[in-house]
């Protein structure tokens, strides 16, 4: 469903051009989850933004459902690092943003997403009045409001405490199991990649290339973190990340 073919992305022009992504080819099927794991600043977010239609690759093609990606599309939702909430909008206005921006979606979806995530009581509050965990949930509600078939996440749980992070990882897994959107998660957190990625593509340092792909068939259970299999995947991912680095 998501086809990334030999994508090269460069920042800047001429002598100051920086190669961020160098020839990545990946395919993500409908309902599949893929984690892009790599060191900070390796170019994984750049690749994700090009799938979201925000950055145009210098070379190669990205297509979703057979249609080339030329800009943001209603079926794609993007969750950003700090949830991307607008501080001057209330929880409701933030969750409902995609609908306000003219998307052709059923109006009730934002309200039901807020209710589902336990945010019905804080609809009129501003992000500054919320805890970090609540802010991330508002970001999720906004993403869910458009009932997307593709969910892109850019380090969505960075800078959260361990317990809050695990609770929201559980929520992501539950939502993915229920709705089966194609999920692409960008992270530098090995355990997060192992918990949420059905496959984990380990990327090199910049420019990002696929170093290896680790299959993670055990995924799908909230207790997965406590299993031997999970620890084994974590160890393999750590080894793959460390390979070739100093």
């Amino acid at each position: 469903m998501i086809d990334i073919r030999d994508v090269v992305i460069e920042y800047g022009r001429g002598e100051r051009a920086v190669l961020a992504v160098d020839g990545i080819t990946l395919r993500i099927e409908p309902g599949e989850s893929l984690a892009l794991l790599g060191p900070s600043g390796c170019g994984k977010t750049t690749l994700l933004f090009s799938v979201a239609g925000l950055i145009r690759p210098k070379r190669g093609d990205i297509a979703i459902g057979g249609e080339p990606v030329t800009g943001p599309r209603g079926e794609i939702a993007l969750i950003l690092q700090n949830a991307g909430l607008l501080p001057w909008k209330t929880v409701w206005q933030n969750a409902n943003l995609s609908l306000r921006l003219g998307g052709d979606y059923p109006q009730k979806t934002a309200a039901s997403a807020l209710e589902e995530l336990g945010l019905g009581g804080v609809r009129s509050r501003f992000p500054a009045e919320l805890s970090e965990g609540m802010k991330r949930r508002v970001g999720i509600a906004r993403a869910l409001s458009t009932a997307p078939s593709v969910m892109l996440m850019d380090e969505p749980l960075a800078s959260l405490d361990t317990l809050t992070k695990e609770r929201i990882q559980d929520l992501f897994l539950k939502l993915w199991l229920e709705r089966r959107f194609a999920l692409v998660l960008v992270t530098h957190d090995i355990e997060e990649a192992a918990f949420l990625g059905g496959r984990v593509a380990v990327l090199t340092e910049r420019p990002a290339r696929v170093k290896t792909i680790v299959e993670n068939p055990g995924l799908g259970d909230l207790d997965y973190r406590e299993t031997e299999e999970f620890l084994g995947i974590v160890a393999r991912l750590r080894e793959a990340l460390e390979e070739g680095t100093q």
Binding site: G74, L78, G84, W88, G103, R125, E129
Partner: protein, 271 residues
């Protein structure tokens, strides 16, 4: 109804009461310092060059209707000039700050003109607008235009990229990026700039109202002070009215900020 009354009473007994109390105390201290200064000047120089505040206040009361008329003339000139500067400077500043190519094209021109003292343009403005109200408003608006333009440009450049990415990913058009991000993100800085503009605007208003003694449309507090410059208490009654005008505008901007930037004044309640 009783809920509204309760809320009003809570506000009055809470932050509003203390806000007003602080201003009353500040006024009392300033009047005391003024009184001491006037006594010292009289003792040293042998003449009351700096009039006693009680006499100035008495003059204010005596000249009430005249002063009030001049107060309104100055007030509408200043407010109109601020609105014109805001209406032109704010959108242009946002465009320059947000659109890189426009910034490269226009910013050098602005930074060449900005450091020139705007007083230097007064003669040109008189030649263009002639005598009367338009030139007075134009003098103040020209001075404030650059102030607001530069602030808006700076504020637009400070916008967090994540906020723009967030709305672009949600499918926003260019116009929607301005409406949902650029405008609200820069409002607090612009309101701060407007506060600074009150002081700057008053100074230019004084210049505008005192320039051209043959101008039949003089009026305003600047002109009032200028006409009474050798009569201490009257001039100081005019100066106090100007301070009152400035204070009223500060309070008005504060109220506007509380309404349009409500999100800036909330504290974290969630857990």
């Amino acid at each position: 109804m009783s809920r509204i009354r309760r809320a009003g009473r809570a506000l009055w007994e809470g932050p509003v009461f203390w806000h007003v109390a602080r201003y009353v105390a500040a006024m009392a201290i300033l009047l005391l310092v003024w009184w001491i200064a006037s006594e010292v000047v009289e003792a040293v120089k042998g003449r009351a060059f700096l009039p006693n505040p009680i006499r100035a206040i008495a003059e204010m009361a005596r000249l009430g209707p005249t002063l009030f008329k001049n107060f309104w003339v100055s007030a509408w000139r200043l407010v109109l000039a601020m609105l014109i500067a805001l209406g032109l400077g704010y959108p242009l500043g946002l465009l320059i700050g947000h659109e890189r190519k426009l910034d490269q094209l226009i910013s050098p021109m602005i930074y060449i003109i900005y450091p020139i003292p705007q007083v230097a343009f007064i003669l040109i403005l008189f030649l263009i607008f002639g005598l009367g109200n338009p030139v007075k408003v134009a003098i103040v608006a020209t001075a404030l235009f650059f102030q607001i333009l530069v602030s808006a440009r700076g504020a637009a450049k400070q916008i967090e990229l994540e906020h723009i990415t967030s709305v672009l990913a949600a499918g926003a058009s260019r116009w929607q990026v301005y409406w949902h991000v650029v405008l609200p993100a820069t409002l607090p800085s612009i309101l701060t700039s407007l506060r600074v503009s009150v002081g700057l605007g008053m100074a230019f208003l004084y210049i505008a109202e005192t320039t051209g003694s043959f101008d039949p449309w003089r009026g305003g507090l600047g002109s009032f002070i200028d006409s009474n410059i050798y009569s201490g208490p009257q001039a100081f009654a005019g100066i106090m009215a100007m301070a009152l005008l400035g204070l009223s505008l500060y309070i008005l901007i504060e109220i506007i900020e509380r309404v349009v930037c409500r999100w800036k004044h909330v504290s974290r309640r969630g857990s």
